[in-house]
Amino acid sequence: MGISKIWVLAEASGGNVATITLELLAKARELADTVECVYGGADADAIAATLGAHGASKVLSTGDLGGQLAGVPVAAAVAAAVAAGNGPDAVFLGTTYDGRDVAGRLSVRLDAPVITNVVDLVERDGGLAGVEPVFGGTQNVITKFTTDKVGIFLIRPKSFAAEESGGGAAAVEALTVPDTGATGAARIVNRHVEEKSGPQLDEADVVVAGGRGLGEKDNYALVENLAKALGAAPGASRAIVDAGWVPYSYQVGQTGKVVKPTVYIAAGISGATQHLVGMKGSKNIIAINKDPEAPIFSVADLGIVGDVHKVLPKLLEALQNR
């Protein structure tokens, strides 16, 4: 697999390009001469300037998806372009809801595997290889493709810094979606936006996350109050999301959001592998846990071995008295 052309799946909402897309463009630009975006949506014109400014020369747009989830039509369109000889050497997709759908569908259509959970890309044997953290990020494995098919990479958010290239607006071109038969029959009939005040979890400078050590659902208020006092975003471990204390959108970790704030405060979180992967890139980590053996302390800059029910109220009081 030579690396001359990379396609990046562009994602956007309300005319705003997702940060992950800009991150992927920054890396793709480093690796390939030609970087183009693939976009499933009606508003490619609205995002062409931003995508161009981050290095995409073209936006290949399917146009309005008519309520379809992106996976089927976008994958079908990309596969058709590949079959026609117009495809790229590699496709970069973010580890997002739609990115994973497109990658899975595309993989079968091209009969090509996906390298997943990628946090960096390197060249190996003349092709692109993905770097994937395993065991909570204590080890990295590098995986390459062994065929010359299009390389499909699912890349985790926050792996690269978004950076403008100074390019002009990307040229919008149509990408034809072939008939997808029964596979494309799912339809979005209504969208719900969950209003959240305060900073976004994956963009906040400070994150306060709570875990099972809080004891019960009502005690999550301790985390929310501390977050409010610090202008921070509240987060959660998978354990308390699974237990239904807070919505999935609060989850930090392998299956949730990757965060890299200036300060991450883990309250009553033991630090399971799946959680550490999502937060160990934080610049500073404070952990409060009553178990001195908790793995979270192995990554903490400041660890307090104590009861969150005692430490958090005092901390909150001290902050409010300042």
Binding site: R105, S107, P113, N140, V141, G181, H192, E194, I265, I285
Partner: protein, 260 residues
């Protein structure tokens, strides 16, 4: 209403995982258990069959060494039967091959209305298999379901999104992947555990599914791990016992960083 649930039997997450030094893949030769992520799909399937007033839940799984302990857990919860694909030829299979094998196993499981899977496993976490299965089977799909209701021949799914959730309708048969925490998985009763011991597990080889052993496992994988390296370790900092003044350490830490 017949529901097929894809379940994975994984090494106990409580035990530290390790890579097999000769293959650089996850060691899976010890005892395997039901991936907790899959217990939600099993519970959801049982509830849907119950609501429909008839039908059954069938499990499909691919695992080494004829492993059934995870399947027995799900059978004890109430699933009726299972198809287990266990074949040395499958060692080294990537997610795409896994999807092809599971798709064949699903077809073997009999007539179905719905296929459920977790969004991703807790050991390999590629998160692509449900969508790959749907494409192999030529079915529509909805991923990241927070809830599922069946209305005639249509699934009504609330699908997790970055901003909140989407209401999605999808004609059956379909593949739906469910996020953890959508339902409270039941604990198997004693009666369920006893009954599970005699529930049928149809164990098959790759050839029984009409697949060529030369196209699966290591031979069929289109990717290879070329390097394993220790990641840069994060330096552990100071750990102090809370003597009632632990909060003050946090205040000064935040103050030093000019966060407050």
């Amino acid at each position: 209403m017949n529901v097929v649930v894809c379940v994975k039997q994984i090494p106990d997450p409580a035990d530290p995982g390790a890579l097999d030094p000769s293959t650089n893949t996850l060691k899976r030769d010890g005892k395997l258990i039901l991936d907790e992520s899959d217990s939600y799909g099993v519970e959801m399937a049982l509830q849907l069959v119950d609501a429909a007033g008839g039908g059954e839940v069938t499990l499909v799984s691919m695992a080494p060494n004829s492993e059934v302990s995870g399947l027995r857990t799900a059978l004890a919860m109430g699933a009726a039967k299972a198809v287990l694909v266990s074949d040395d030829a499958l060692k080294g299979s990537d997610a795409l091959t896994t999807a092809k094998v599971l798709a064949k196993a699903i077809e073997r499981a009999g007539a179905y209305d719905l296929v459920l899977a977790a969004t991703e496993s807790s050991d390999g976490y590629t998160g692509t298999v449900p969508e790959q299965i749907a494409e192999v089977l030529g079915l529509p799909s909805v991923t990241f379901a927070k809830s599922i209701a069946i209305d005639g021949g249509t699934a009504k799914v609330d699908r997790q999104t970055e901003a909140g959730y989407d209401e999605v309708t999808c004609p059956l048969p379909a593949v739906v992947s469910v996020t953890a925490g959508v339902v409270e998985p039941r604990y198997p009763s004693f009666k369920g555990i006893m009954a599970a011991k005699s529930k049928p597990v149809d164990e098959v080889k790759v050839a029984d599914l009409g697949l060529d052993a030369a196209n699966v496992g290591w031979a069929g994988a289109g990717q290879a791990i070329v390097e394993v390296a220790d990641a840069e370790a994060r330096q552990a900092g100071e750990v102090v016992e809370d003597d009632g003044e632990g909060y003050a350490r946090i205040v000064s830490f935040l103050s030093d960083l000019k966060i407050i």
